[in-house]
């Protein structure tokens, strides 16, 4: 190394490409459970998935004014997300390059500058190193530009802030591709856009991040069967019993042509949405001026007012439920743990009482203490705990649900579409893309798989 060389240090790895390729068999629909447990695969994920995917950091309205910042993570790397004077957004590694101290230790706020508390190295709001104590006496040759914290590329999509470390990655627009069509069901219902209700709820679940990402990508099945029976019961009017509620069955599922994204939704039947969000939100979503405007903007009455409880994952770890409007990032914490960072979005021009109803209903249902999501936590923890077993890791999981039931030329819905909302086609897409990323040495190789 010459004295100004700050190029990356190559990290050791143990799995070879053919071994990784055997971990998921798309055509047979088989998942090797070791993808959820293996420490070396996890380290490779940090490098090949999290260090070069577009990751969700938050919502633009969480940092409205110049100097406003939030701190969050990209994989396990802490980052600072700061609104600049020109209204752009800077994202930099929350680590001082001197001895690795966390530069900013608050969750959010407004700053004119950041100063490392260890030796006083000071940064502007874009993360440029601008001042070093005793620089003239002690760091005669310091190239402050070279020794600024690593910066990430930042791009937004209709309010959501994404970042990516990789200079060679495709831009966010290309990365999302036709998945934008499905994101728009929540993000583009009005020209006013969305805003985040203040407050991010964070909690820890000892399970692999892929269980969570896959569920929001592809798993309406769990909601339409046993997982959330008590949650549904908790949302029914007092005079209705479980037997009075026929679970919806009509819907569709989307698998991205490339990129691992997926979404699924019921069409027409409001029963599950009523049980989750109550009559007021369901009415706002399906009838009246706001719903009509959404239908007009989305180019179809069905898309604007008849899609219910849509689940979606933007690969790898951005997940949300259009209609419920909870949005979250799954932050990986080793193969055996994930942090959920969740907030709620509303149409910026929605009436105050509708915004308030979204707030109350999402925290009542999809939160650590929510009547739906508390049961997800229970399931995922047990799954991960069992995977300590030798035999438990020695046979594949079944991922063959609704195989070969898709069309690639639906007249309305782009991508690979299943007319069966209960399918694992989108999950197969997620794992197929995971495999692509895990076996591609760089973005040029990845682009060649499109």
């Amino acid at each position: 190394m010459n004295q100004t060389d700050t190029s990356p240090i190559r990290l050791r790895r143990s799995w070879n490409t053919s071994e990784i390729e055997a971990l998921f068999d798309e055509h047979a629909g088989r998942i090797d459970p070791r993808i959820y447990t293996d420490e070396d695969l996890y380290q490779l994920e940090l490098e090949r998935v999290f260090a070069r995917s577009w990751l969700l950091l938050g919502h633009e309205t969480q940092i409205r004014k110049p100097g406003d910042y939030i701190t969050t993570y990209m994989g396990e790397d802490p980052v600072v997300v700061v609104r600049q004077k020109d209204a752009s957004i800077a994202v930099f590694l929350n680590q001082c390059r001197h001895r690795g101290m966390r530069i900013c230790r608050a969750d959010a706020g407004n700053a004119k500058a950041f100063t490392c508390s260890y030796h006083g190295w000071a940064y502007d709001t874009a993360g440029n190193l601008v001042n070093v104590p005793y620089e003239a006496e002690s760091f005669a040759c310091l190239n402050k530009k070279e020794w600024s914290p690593l910066k990430a590329r930042v791009e937004t999509y209709k309010g959501l802030i994404f970042a990516n470390w990789d200079e060679n990655a495709v831009d966010l627009d290309t990365y999302l591709g036709e998945a934008k069509f499905y994101m728009d069901h929540m993000l583009d219902r009005t020209e006013a856009g969305t805003e985040a209700i203040p407050g991010v709820q964070k909690w820890v679940i000892p399970c692999n991040w892929k269980f969570a990402a896959e569920q929001f990508c592809s798993d309406m099945y769990h909601a339409g069967t046993t997982s959330h029976l008590s949650g549904i019961l908790a949302g029914l009017p007092e005079d209705l019993e479980m037997a009075d509620l026929a679970p919806p069955t009509v819907g569709k599922q989307y698998r991205a042509s490339w990129g691992g994204h997926g979404s699924g939704f019921y069409v027409g039947d409001p029963n599950l949405m009523l049980a989750i969000m109550g009559p007021k939100v369901t009415s706002y979503w399906t009838e009246g001026p706001a719903s009509e405007k959404a239908a007009q903007r989305l180019g179809s009455v069905e898309r604007g007012s008849k899609l219910m409880v849509e689940h979606m994952t933007v690969f790898p770890t951005c997940s949300f439920l259009a209609g419920v409007n909870t949005v979250r990032t799954w932050h990986p914490r080793g193969p055996n743990e994930v942090e959920v960072w969740a907030f709620t979005v509303v149409d910026a021009d929605a009436p105050d009482d509708i915004k308030e109803e979204f707030r109350r209903q999402t925290l009542r249902t999809f939160s650590a203490g929510g009547v739906f999501e508390q049961d997800d936590g229970e399931n995922w923890v047990e799954i991960q705990h069992i995977l300590r077993g030798h035999k438990a890791r020695s046979r594949p999981f079944n991922a063959e649900m609704s195989m070969d039931q898709t069309v690639d030329n639906d007249p309305v819905y782009p991508g690979r579409i299943s007319n069966n909302v209960y399918s694992e086609e989108a999950a197969r897409g997620l794992y197929a893309h995971w495999l692509r990323m895990m076996t591609s040495p760089d973005w040029d190789a990845l682009k060649a798989t499109r």
Binding site: R105, A106, D107, A108, G109, I197, P198, G199, V200, Q201, K202, W203, V204, I205, P206, T226, S227, L229, S230, G231, L233, A234, G235, M242, E339, F343, T344, E356, R359, R360, L363, R364, S367, A368, G369, V371, E373, Q374, D375, G377, E378, N379, W380, V381, E382
Partner: protein, 186 residues
């Protein structure tokens, strides 16, 4: 009116309340804890006033200078922000036998201490600050400890356990929740 600033200490009265009142409030809390620790959720619900606000705000980390930003304000996202109706609905789900995160039920222990009572202008209403340590153990070895402070408004009633909870604000001493869920009531 006492301070509603949650970053400030509970505004205790200069002189402690009578032994009798102190004792009756403490005994009310111990009985409430028994109901929760033995899954008598429907009876516990009868302790809540119909106009209850049950609120557990999200807490965040800031330097002391920005202490005012610590709690996500009322009207923002929260861990709990419930009415009597939504609490009744939660309990309907809870006792259904289908609420997997509490079936099999957790073994919980609600420890209550540091009870400070403040009388108000309304002779039937008291404000109470107390500390809790809530232990949860479930299935084989999953163990969580929740610690914090409750700020309640209690209303005297002539029947039942002598009080109803008209308002409860729970200050959980965590920013990121270190448990996999918040399936208990506090």
């Amino acid at each position: 009116m006492p301070s509603t600033d949650l970053t400030q200490a509970f505004e205790w009265p200069e002189k402690a309340v009578s032994l009798e009142l102190q004792n009756s409030v403490e005994q009310f809390y111990y009985r409430e804890a028994q109901l929760l620790d033995h899954q008598r959720y429907e009876t516990w619900l009868t302790l809540l006033a119909e106009d209850i606000q049950y609120w557990m705000p999200i807490r965040t980390s800031h330097t002391s200078r920005n202490k005012a930003l610590e709690y996500v304000r009322a009207g923002g996202n929260a861990h709990f922000d419930d009415t009597y109706e939504s609490m009744r609905a939660r309990i309907r789900g809870r006792v259904s036998g289908l609420n997997w995160t509490e079936d099999p039920p957790s073994r919980s222990r609600h420890i209550v201490s540091n009870v400070i009572v403040r009388e108000t202008e309304d002779p039937d209403t008291v404000e109470v600050g107390s500390s809790f340590l809530c232990y949860r153990n479930r299935i084989e070895r999953m163990t969580d400890i929740y610690v914090g402070e409750r700020r309640d408004v209690l209303r005297r009633v002539s029947d039942g356990l002598g009080f109803k909870i008209a308002k409860r604000t729970i200050l959980l001493d965590q920013s990121t929740i270190t448990a996999n869920n918040l399936s208990l009531f506090f």
